[in-house]
């Protein structure tokens, strides 16, 4: 199979079968926290996709060409989290200076991404699965798109939920959102088996 078709399959797979928040339990905090309305869901989704792809472009060569070559592969966790934190900081500074309009709409979501476990998760799982560089980038990009997709669906459901339904008292707040997520992930379970 050519690299390109492999990449397409990985991207589609990451959006549907292996969707991060709904099938792999990664990035649940922002998935539950930022999915209150469509605007913030979109902002967060775009920011996560961007940072995930960029973080993969940086961390994959770092592991293969630096850490493994020097025999200090065990520093993976420390190195990756620092790279991600620094990267997010740089993007924020760059955007503030050069793209103020974009910064206004997307900037507030950037600092939150450092502690998003899906970003560190995708960087580590690229190497666990022994993907090559292009497959890794495809997995990160697809993972970000899938996160964005799930966030938007959730935001749509929640905007109806808060105003228009009668919920048992104990289920107010977090529990009803988790129940919604449960039903959503049940729907995503239908995708399983799409790729062998």
């Amino acid at each position: 199979m050519s690299t390109l078709s492999k990449m397409v399959i990985i991207i589609i797979g990451m959006i549907t079968v292996n969707n991060y928040p709904l099938s792999q339990f990664l990035g649940i905090c922002p998935f539950l926290g930022v999915s209150t309305d469509l605007n913030s869901a979109t902002g967060m989704g775009v920011a996560v996709t961007f940072v995930m792809t960029l973080a993969t472009i940086v961390t994959w060569p770092l592991q293969i060409f630096v850490l493994d070559k020097l025999g200090i592969g065990y520093l993976q966790t420390v190195a990756f989290i620092l790279i991600i934190a620094a990267l997010v900081q740089f993007i924020e500074m760059f955007m503030k200076k050069n793209m103020p309009a974009l910064y206004k709409s997307m900037g507030i979501y950037l600092p939150l991404i450092t502690t998003n476990c899906a970003v560190l998760g995708v960087c580590i799982s690229n190497l666990d699965k022994e993907y090559n560089f292009f497959e890794s980038v495809a997995q990160a990009f697809g993972g970000g798109l899938g996160f964005w997709f799930a966030l938007c669906i959730m935001a749509g459901v929640r905007s109806k939920l808060v105003d228009q339904s009668r919920i048992p008292k104990s289920f107010h707040g977090v529990p009803i959102v988790l129940t919604t997520a449960s039903i959503l992930s049940l729907a995503f379970l239908g995708f399983s088996g799409m790729f062998s």
């Binding site: 339990f25 539950l32 926290g33 309305d37 420390v78 600092p111 998003n116 560190l120 977090v174 449960s182």
Partner: protein
């Protein structure tokens, strides 16, 4: 701290029930959902996170006067990542079965909001002993929640309880088998939708019993998770929901 000095015992028990990190503060949801498929993996995850939490709390509270305020978050993350790496290497060497069962979620302890949140909210403001006790309490609270959720999901999902070889301590132990020929396990409970649903039910139960005594947190309390700015929007939405 501005508020009154708390007794050592209350610091220790604070994390168990009153401020249970998962059920009351709603932080650290990812590992809770992912590793509570059985009691064994949940317990292992809880202990690993507890070890990291205690060590990082001690070190951060000892160093907090030396760390400049502006770069404290990267410093905290570095300390936490170092301890996670140590735990990861120890588990790989001595408990390989748990290491492979936890998989990706072991390095992800670094970004577990409980640990960074406690560093930010407690350890950087309190003494070393208090921080260590807070770490023990919070860690045990996390472990307890994981075990409760693991029990429910394991009993309903695979029809056993406490199954597994318990990190090599009990080889050949099959667990307490509750499944019969007529009642097969519901696999869905060990899968993703079951995880979300059991979590929702456990949290609703906690709400039911605490709603008269204390104010329920309706929002996602990602305190110290750098999430606060966005989460406050959720506060308003939840209040609107409660009023409607």
């Amino acid at each position: 701290m501005a508020e009154q000095k708390k007794s050592k015992l209350s610091i220790l028990t604070n994390g168990l029930i009153k401020e249970n990190p998962v059920l009351v503060l709603v932080i650290g949801t990812c590992p809770t959902l992912a590793t509570s498929t059985s009691v064994e993996t949940g317990f292992g995850m809880g202990l690993a996170a507890t070890a990291v939490l205690i060590c990082s709390n001690i070190v951060i509270s000892a160093l907090h006067k030396l760390i400049p305020d502006k770069v404290r978050i990267p410093c905290f993350i570095t300390v936490i990542a170092a301890f996670v790496t140590i735990v990861q290497m120890l588990l790989e060497a001595y408990v390989p079965s748990l290491y492979s069962a936890l998989g990706l979620y072991l390095p992800l302890i670094v970004v577990n909001c409980i640990i960074l949140g406690r560093a930010e909210m407690f350890a950087s403001k309190n003494s070393v002993v208090d921080s260590a006790l807070d770490g023990v309490g919070m860690g045990l609270g996390f472990t307890l929640t994981l075990c409760i959720m693991g029990s429910i999901r394991e009993i309903l999902g695979s029809g056993t309880w406490l199954a597994g070889d318990w990190f090599g301590l009990a080889p050949g132990f099959k667990g307490i088998i509750l499944q019969s020929r007529w009642i097969p396990g519901m696999n869905i409970m060990t899968m993703v939708p079951g995880g979300f649903f059991v979590f929702a039910c456990v949290m609703a139960t906690v709400h039911y019993f605490t709603r008269d005594k204390s104010k329920i947190r309706n929002s996602f309390g990602c305190d110290g998770c750098a999430m606060q700015g966005v989460c406050t929007d959720d506060d308003k939405a939840a209040e609107k929901g409660a009023a409607a």
